[in-house]
Symmetry: C2
DNA sequence: GTCTATACATCGATAGAC
DNA sequence: GTCTATCGATGTATAGAC
């Protein structure tokens, strides 16, 4: 039991409490292992009542997707960035990596497609795009003006995150190379424009 | 209908035919969308009869995992490698990338965990490790003697594959940078040993 | 809003006849 | 080996009482 749903709370707070419980269950049983019956049980709520908050299971996943991306966007926006653009890149990417690796279920839902048939709604996806835009901003400020170089850096970071999560969860075997690789990519743009 | 199971064939051949049909269905409906009923229907077989060939759905996934890795290992072993070690690295990694991107269902099953609760058996995983060992071999021949550098290159390749598959399936937006990035990594080992 | 109860679909898996 | 029949779980959705 995670905790009974507080009926005296506002609808907004109840919805948030449901999402929190869903994150806990997704962490315990996997994102795809989340069931409405199980979620309702943890909240001491009947399964049909969940439909008062989410019109379908996909809508619940969509709310989780949006919730996770909002967490990430908030984290990135609250960073105190160094004035040095290159150090700012490292701070932002490090925060991104740590966020992604802090919660396995969240990582899967936000950065992969663990639910067959589930595609985020345009509104939710817009939040994910705002996150990406934040990364592109700091990269451009650091002189990465070629979109191809942005692509390569994003892919490098994604590769580190996935390798870390898949092969050494909780460790630093891959993530410890982030700063060095950032320098490597920043020092070697596609067209050596010097 | 993919094709009736040939009852006069050997058990081995029948098992292989089931796996072939499973790949087709996984490609059509997604790895997680594969169902025993659907598979049996395509083979004109009853669903419980599949249990004569695989003791569980997980065992079927395990056989697919082993099958896909055997395909990849065979592909890598049959490559004609250039004598130049660096060019050999590029040929092997390029073959790896192309194999991964040639079949979306296979990519997901071999390189991710799309099925909650499914973990490859030690026997099947050994084949995947043999694939990895092949990559490590050519990298070492090209002078990559630091395991950390091997990790970074593998993660870079994985990042390119995932970005390509997720954001530009069928295209070359990320994979076109493979050779350049291989050079970048090979030219910049972790400890600049010059 | 929340509940009980229910309907209908899917799925993996098993029992037991042949 | 193959089949039919079945079980218990799931998700989706609805009806209707309170």
């Amino acid at each position: 039991m995670i905790g009974k749903l507080d009926r005296s709370a506002s609808r907004e707070d109840r919805t948030a409490a449901i999402l929190d419980a869903a994150w806990v269950l997704a962490g315990r049983d996997g994102v795809a292992g989340l069931t409405l019956r199980g979620l309702a049980r943890e909240l001491d709520l009947s399964q049909p009542s969940l439909y008062e908050y989410f019109e379908s299971k996909h809508a619940l996943y969509d709310a989780l997707f949006a919730d996770g991306n909002r967490q990430l966007l908030g984290r990135l926006e609250n960073l105190r960035l160094p004035t040095d653009p290159r150090r700012a890149v490292k701070v932002v990417l490090r925060a991104f990596v740590e966020f992604a690796l802090a919660d396995e279920a969240r990582r899967q839902l936000l950065f992969h497609r663990p639910i067959p048939g589930f595609v985020p709604s345009p509104e939710s996806y817009a939040i994910a795009e705002a996150v990406l835009a934040r990364g592109v901003d700091v990269l451009e400020a650091a002189g990465v003006d070629d979109p191809a170089d942005v692509d390569c850096i994003i892919a490098m970071v994604a590769g580190l995150i996935d390798s870390q999560a898949s092969n050494d969860p909780g460790g630093t075997r891959w993530t410890r190379h982030l700063d060095r690789l950032v320098d490597l990519y920043l020092d070697n743009p596609r067209k050596d424009a010097r």
